[in-house]
């Protein structure tokens, strides 16, 4: 009996399965549901409204999102006759899967027994994986064969060119400061959280993640009153839900990466031996920190309006990109002085 339980546990906590399925898929679904609820509720508070309420006033309308999810799941999926069928169906699915893929390669503990991949170049692998999924948004827009979706896709392409460099530079600045590409070493090196040592890089990373996941004020590819729903205009039902969820899941993946790089990962906890203290608790700490970070991301929705495309691009290249370069310079300086 004990042998069977051990076997099941070792399967569940086999790092690739645990991180991809439990943290990546289930965890991000739960976090995303909570975050969308929080986003709606917080926006409502700031705008003096109530937000979701009537479905369960005691829980402040939390089941509303579950209801929405069920509705999406059972809606008819309409594929337009003019659309490119295979790509139209595949693009959102691939985009969703790819957007949680970075979670499968980051360490959620310092215990080497529970690393999904060898950690030596993990920050590079994770960053590389974050850059794959946006292509499929453009594919989705292209395959829909609708002017709004194509415009949305082209906008997405513009935004990608603006944020990708910033995201990579600002997150890599940590590895410049610690002189390693090993995410575990980066986490372990943070006696002081890296956000305090290099707030400029953090701010640049924050803004670039907002752009990457089309959060306000950069909700440009999907801006409702200009291009209907951007690349997702023709989508309905579960595919639309996937498209919308993909942005949030991507934000979750980026948040986990940012927690590891800037917010000390699993600190203040020191992972020990065994599944519980070596894997489960540190990973839960990381996920909780990522959820808090996502709550901060969500707040921008209630505070900012939407930038025009040119404003966003100009801001990204003239303001945020120099900021990222500055952050990188600061990291080099810190490495030279040996702060970390």
């Amino acid at each position: 009996m004990a042998g069977i339980i051990d076997l099941i546990l070792s399967i569940i906590f086999y790092p690739p399965i645990y991180q991809l399925v439990l943290v990546g898929l289930t965890g991000s679904l739960v976090v995303v549901i909570f975050i969308i609820w929080f986003e709606r509720k917080a926006t409502a508070r700031v705008q003096r409204r109530l937000g979701p309420y009537h479905i369960a006033p005691r829980l402040a309308g939390l089941p509303q999102l579950v209801a929405d999810l069920i509705r999406y799941a059972f809606q008819e999926v309409i594929i337009p006759r003019t659309a490119d069928r295979e790509l139209f169906v595949l693009a959102p699915i691939v985009a969703t899967v790819l957007s949680i893929l970075p979670i499968a390669v980051v360490p959620l503990t310092s215990n080497p027994a529970y690393w999904p991949i060898p950690m030596d170049y993990s920050i590079l692998v994770a960053l590389a994986l974050t850059t794959v999924s946006p292509i499929f948004l453009i594919v989705a827009g292209w395959a829909s064969n609708n002017k709004f979706s194509i415009i949305g896709g082209v906008r997405e392409a513009f935004v990608i060119t603006a944020y990708e460099m910033i995201a990579i530079m600002s997150i890599l600045s940590a590895s410049a400061a610690v002189l390693t590409f090993n995410l575990v070493e980066i986490v372990e090196a943070q006696r002081i959280w890296y956000i305090l040592l290099n707030p400029i890089a953090f701010l640049a990373a924050f803004l670039s993640v907002l752009m990457a996941t089309s959060g306000f004020p950069f909700e440009i590819p999907e801006s409702e009153n200009e291009v209907v729903a951007g690349p997702f205009t023709e989508y309905s039902g579960l595919l639309y839900g996937l498209n919308m969820g993909a942005a949030y899941m991507k934000r979750f993946a980026f948040s986990i990466l940012m927690v590891l790089v800037f917010l000390g990962g699993w600190s203040p906890y020191t992972p020990g031996e065994g599944i519980l203290s070596g894997y489960l608790i540190p990973s839960l700490i990381v996920v909780a920190k990522a959820a808090i970070l996502m709550m901060i991301f969500s707040l921008t929705r209630s505070i900012y309006g939407r930038f025009r495309l040119d404003q966003a691009l100009e801001g990204a290249w003239r303001l945020v990109f120099p900021m990222a370069v500055l952050g990188f310079g600061l990291a080099l300086l810190e490495a030279y002085l040996g702060v970390m």
């Binding site: 409502a44 700031v46 003096r48 707040l299 505070i303 900012y304």
Partner: protein, 183 residues
């Protein structure tokens, strides 16, 4: 004459950090409301707005005052008010006589209140509510029996009456209607 083209210039570029203060202000206000929301949503069936007397809601007829003059039906812009004929006994002579009475059809009424204004004897009056649901269209066409008494107002039985007032500092605020105290 064709319109003359006007050369417009973009305003001069402001400095790199000109927007900084604006951003900080916006975030501060956002956080302030997040911590202390001053919600003004009306939770409708549980709360309802108590309207002042004189509000143009449903219209009721006082048959004692009515002189059967048809002015209300004539002025009605939506043709909601119409006159019906009734054989009635004259109380003095005891003779049967044809009389005209106004009835109202709420499928058409736009609640403009012209009929109330035009009535020479003030036989029509408005009640300060208009949110009543009917099960079918036929029920909305009132006969004379329904028209002579104020309609039932189910919302008031369950809901809390509230009012919106403009506060000097807080802007719009929702208060309980009867006590006039803040929620």
């Amino acid at each position: 004459m064709p319109a003359r083209p006007v050369v417009k210039r973009l305003p001069a570029r402001r400095g790199l950090f000109a927007g900084f203060k604006g951003n900080v202000d916006a975030i501060t206000i956002g956080l302030k409301y997040l911590v202390d929301p001053k919600r003004i949503t009306l939770i409708y069936p549980n709360e309802y707005i108590k309207l002042d007397p004189g509000y143009r809601g449903f219209i009721v007829l006082e048959p004692k005052k009515c002189i059967n003059c048809s002015s209300c039906a004539r002025i009605c812009p939506a043709a909601a008010m119409r006159m019906i004929r009734r054989m009635e006994e004259d109380p003095k002579t005891g003779k049967k006589k044809m009389k005209l009475w106004p009835v109202i059809n709420y499928q058409r009424c736009i609640f403009c209140g012209y009929c109330v204004d035009v009535c020479p004897t003030e036989a029509l009056y408005t009640v300060p509510y208009h949110d009543i649901v009917y099960e079918n269209m036929a029920e909305m066409d009132w006969g004379l029996e329904t028209f002579v008494k104020p309609p039932e107002y189910p919302t008031a039985k369950e809901g809390i009456p509230v009012k919106y007032i403009v506060d000097e500092e807080k802007g719009l605020v929702k208060v309980r209607a009867e006590e006039g105290e803040e929620e």
